[in-house]
Structures are given as structure tokens and as C-alpha cells.
């Protein structure tokens, strides 16, 4: 097994707040790593540091053994690292298919072929396949802004897979999504992981979702790594129960 992602001692402060305070971990190829922790403990900030939206105050990030700290998000994305954001981020005026084509178009050809080549960048078929995979068929030509919240969340996740990424970081993909769609999403993620050997890191508050989907779970508290292990180990860890599962208003 090889580490797809290696994070070493990453720190990020905002003024006096140490949002991420020296976190280190590896993610192995094909793994689905869950990341849990109370609100404000630095999970999203950690993602932003890994993906170049923020520059870490300290520490190092490697993808496939190559140092990527300081790269721009677009460069990282073209290296096969993709993400979703905690807040929904689809392009509301573009259709579902256009959103997916947009998400894949920079992963092939060059600037010239994107100007003089076909207007769909040769991605219509791939986009339709993704639409079918996420069961959005009847919505392909609808403007993304007109979809229900849950459908937009599915589209948001689907966009992260268009470039055929090796590593995908998902920030609360199931937040605010109803139960049926939650089941759908979990099943889709598991299928992509199985078929494409894509590696995931998933931030999620829904414990059932995390515990049944993830191979390992990592717990953060106040910017630090609190525990790491299989779902069963983490669930039984007294420090985790104390800091997180015990008293936060999050359903166990």
C-alpha cells in the first residue's frame, strides 16, 4: 500500500485562533477516511490547507509522495485531487450537464483545443454517464439553480468526480440531505471507491453515514488530532466519547 496523501504537522492560525494546530496523518490508496469533530474544530480549515485554498502557517502536504504545499488549487486539481465544499457550490445558471462538463473540461487537451475544439470539450457522453450514475437523468438540461437542495448536493459531489480524480476530499456531502438521498449518496461513493479505486476523505456529522462508509475514522478537537482508528475503535475510545460523542448536539 502507498500513501496517496501525507499530511505532516500542518498548522493554520487566524490572528490568535489556532484553527489547525499541528495535524499529521496519511491516507492510503483506496481508503475512505472519515473526519469527524465538533463544529469549529478546524476540519474545513484542514481541507483548505491541504487543497491550497489556504496556505498553511506551517507543515507540509504530499500527494503521491510529491510536496504540494503552496500549489494553487487549480494545479492540485489537475494533479488528480478534487473536492467539495461545505456550502453548496454549483453554478446555478448553468444546466446540470454544463456544470459537469465545466468540472471536467480542464482535465484534457490544452487552451487551444478548448477554444477551437467542440463546445462540449468532448465531454457530453462522460457527463451523461455521471448524470446516470447519480440518478439525475430527468434533470440533465435543467438549470442547476432550479434543483432541490438534495439534488444540488448530489450534483456538487458528481462534479468532484468528473476529472477522474485519485483523491477526493468531501466536506459534509450529506449535510441537509434527506434520508433516501443520503442512502443513494453513500452507495454511489462506495461504488466509485470500489470501481475506480478512488481514495476519499469525508467530513461528516452523520455518525451512521461515517461508521458504515469509512474504513478508518479520524477525530479532531480544538485543531488537534484526538484519535484515529477503525470505526469500532473510535466509537469505543474514551477520549472521543468525552470530547465529542458525549456532549455535542450530534446524533450518535
Amino acid at each position: 500500500m502507498t500513501a496517496v496523501l501525507e499530511v505532516t504537522n500542518v498548522k493554520k492560525s487566524f490572528g490568535g485562533i489556532k484553527a489547525v494546530d499541528g495535524v499529521s496523518f496519511d491516507v492510503q490508496e483506496g481508503e475512505i477516511l472519515g473526519l469527524i469533530g465538533p463544529n469549529g474544530c478546524g476540519k474545513s480549515t484542514l481541507f483548505n490547507c491541504i487543497l491550497g485554498q489556504l496556505t498553511p502557517t506551517d507543515g507540509e502536504v504530499k500527494v503521491d509522495g510529491k510536496i504540494v504545499t503552496g500549489l494553487r488549487p487549480s494545479e492540485l486539481n489537475r494533479l488528480g485531487v478534487s473536492r467539495t465544499f461545505q456550502l453548496l457550490q454549483v453554478f446555478p445558471k448553468l444546466s446540470v450537464r454544463e456544470n459537469l462538463i465545466l468540472a471536467g473540461q480542464e482535465h484534457q487537451g490544452n487552451m487551444m483545443s478548448r477554444l477551437f475544439g467542440p463546445s462540449d470539450a468532448g465531454l457530453s457522453a462522460a457527463a451523461d454517464q455521471m448524470i446516470g450514475f447519480f440518478k439525475l437523468d430527468h434533470l440533465a438540461t435543467e438549470a442547476a439553480g432550479g434543483l432541490s437542495y438534495g439534488q444540488q448536493k448530489l450534483l456538487d459531489a458528481a462534479m468532484a468526480f468528473m476529472g477522474g480524480p485519485r483523491l477526493v476530499l468531501l466536506d459534509e456531502p450529506a449535510g441537509g440531505v434527506n434520508l433516501t438521498m443520503l442512502g443513494d449518496l453513500k452507495e454511489r461513493l462506495a461504488a466509485i471507491n470500489r470501481e475506480k479505486r478512488a481514495t476519499f476523505v469525508v467530513i461528516e456529522h452523520n455518525m451512521e453515514f461515517v461508521m458504515s462508509l469509512c474504513t478508518r475514522v479520524m477525530v479532531m478537537a480544538e485543531g488537534k488530532l484526538l484519535a484515529m482508528g477503525t470505526p469500532a475503535e473510535v466509537r469505543a475510545n474514551p477520549a472521543v466519547i468525552e470530547a465529542y460523542l458525549g456532549h455535542c448536539g450530534i446524533d450518535p
Binding site: L51, Q53, R72, P73, S74, N77, R78, S82, R83, F85, Q89, F91, P92, K93, L94, E98, I101, L102, A103, Q105, E106, H107, M111, R114, L115, F116, G117, S119, A121, M159, M162, G163
Partner: protein, 333 residues
Amino acid sequence: MTATGKYLRIALGIAVIAALIIVPMNFNRYGLYILSQWAVMTIAAMGLNLTLGYAGQVSLAQGAFVGIGAYAAAIMTTQGGMPLIAALGVAIVLCFAIGWILGYPALRVQHHYLAFVTLAFSTLAFLVFRNEDWLTKGIYGISNIPRPNVMGFATNRPLPFYYFCLGSLALVSLAMWWLIRSPWGRAFVALRENPVRALSLGIDTRRYTLMAFAIGSALGGVAGTLYAPLTQYIDPVPFNLSLSLDLLMMVIVGGSGFFFGPFLGAMIAVLLPEWLRFTQGYYLMLYAVAVMLLLIYSPTGILGILDRYLAERRTKAASALRAVAKSRLETAP
């Protein structure tokens, strides 16, 4: 519904094009001059619409790029005796390169810095037009600018020259249509609507923004190379900051980010002063008040109003369809 809508739009397009070709045939010299000016300003505004409407960057130098194109045409065709097409090539390359060089540092710092950098450039360009007599003849200007021969046809007379401008506008429109339908156009929209998400999808927002700005500037240059033979005399005055502001108004009033926004905006800006001539000195005041009222009512300009109206009708039609489907379900045995 959508099929008939499509045919309606095609029919409307053909009717407008036919009208633009046929109706001016019995216009007088002045009418043709105004209409040619509309075609030229539409090209410049289309360029600015790409920068502002599609890529979301404010440029205050579009008028300066028109000036660069106009001076390139004037100098090369009078003193150089070269054909206009050579001047066109020089203007495009020059404006594209200057746009790129101006945008590069501006975008490395912060987005709205482009507005300041272009403002400064606008002033600088005006000073060069006015003070570098050896090249531009300064305040005396350059006169006797010849009109081109296009495929063997002389365009000296107003009607042929108008057709030359109209044909150029058609070519630029086709190129623009191609551009905004290409993956580049999609990337431009993405970086205007949500640059953070665009970056995370691998879109090099900096490079696309620069491209949009440089191409938009180059179209300013194209408009300039038509402007010089249209007026046949140029001096620095028309290319000061107020032309840049006028062009900005055209884009915003027409509807920035809409393909046909510049056509409409340029028409209003070029024709309205003619129609409101009877108000004498009050024209500018009326125009300013009208623009303010429009922007309060619809920040996305005139086409924004139309767009909202059509979207509303579509939602109503869709919900009517849903209601019908639902009542069928309920009455089904």
C-alpha cells in the same frame, strides 16, 4: 414550445439583419454615418462585455484601446500607405499585448486593481496621443484617412462603407458567439460566478481572466481601425476617459453578460443624443437620470428585464404543466 421559440428567434434574427441591410439604402449621408458609428461602437462594447460581463473585470481603458486602433489605422494608411488590413493586424496584436501586460500585475494583487490600472493607462494613452507629435501629429490630428478597398470594391461612399462596418460587426459577432459557446466561455462564466469553486475544478482563473481582458482590449483595437476611416480625421479628444465611460455605460445599460447587450446599449448611446437633440443642453442630464432609474430598477440592464420576464413565464408554464399532470394523477382510476 421551445422549438417554436427557436424558429421565432431565427425569424426575428433574419428580419433584423435584412432590415439592417435594406432600410439604410435610402438613408442620407448623416444617417449612414450614425449607423456606421453604431456598428463600430458595438464592436468596442462587445469587447468590454467580454471583460466585464463574462469575466467580471472592470476596465476603464476600452476607449484608449479604440484610440490605439484608430491611430494605428491612421498612421499606417496615411503616412505608411499600407492597407487597412495590415493596420488591423497591428492593432489587434498591440492591444492584446498591452491588455495582457496591464492585467498581469493587476490580477496578481487584487481583482479590483484592474480598474485603477486601466484608469491610469487611459490617461497615459491620451497623453501619448496628444504629446507625441512626431507620431500622432498631436492636437492637429491626422486627416485624409483613406477608406479601404474590400475585395476590389471601393468603400469611399457612405453606403458601401456602412456595409463594410456591418460586415465587420457580423464577423466579430460570429467569433464572439463561438468564443462564449466554447469551453472558454464556460470558464469565463465560472470565474465570474464563483472563482473559488472554479479554481477547485482546475480552472486557471488568472489565465482565463487575462485572456478575457486581452481579447476584450483587442476588440477595442478592431473598433478603432474602423473608426479612423469612418471619420477620416482623428485627433486625441474623442479617445479620452469619457469614451471609456461611455462604452462602460453601453455595456451596463444594454445588459452586461448578455450577448446582445452591447448591440442595444450602443444603439441607445449613439441614437439617443440624436433623438433628444430638441432638449438641447438637457440631453446629458436626461440620459444620466434615465440610466440611474434603469439601474435601480434592473441592475442587469434592459436585457435583464427581458430575461426576468421570460424566466417568469417559463416557471408559470412549468407549474401549469405540473398542475395538469397532478390533476390527471388524481382523477385517474
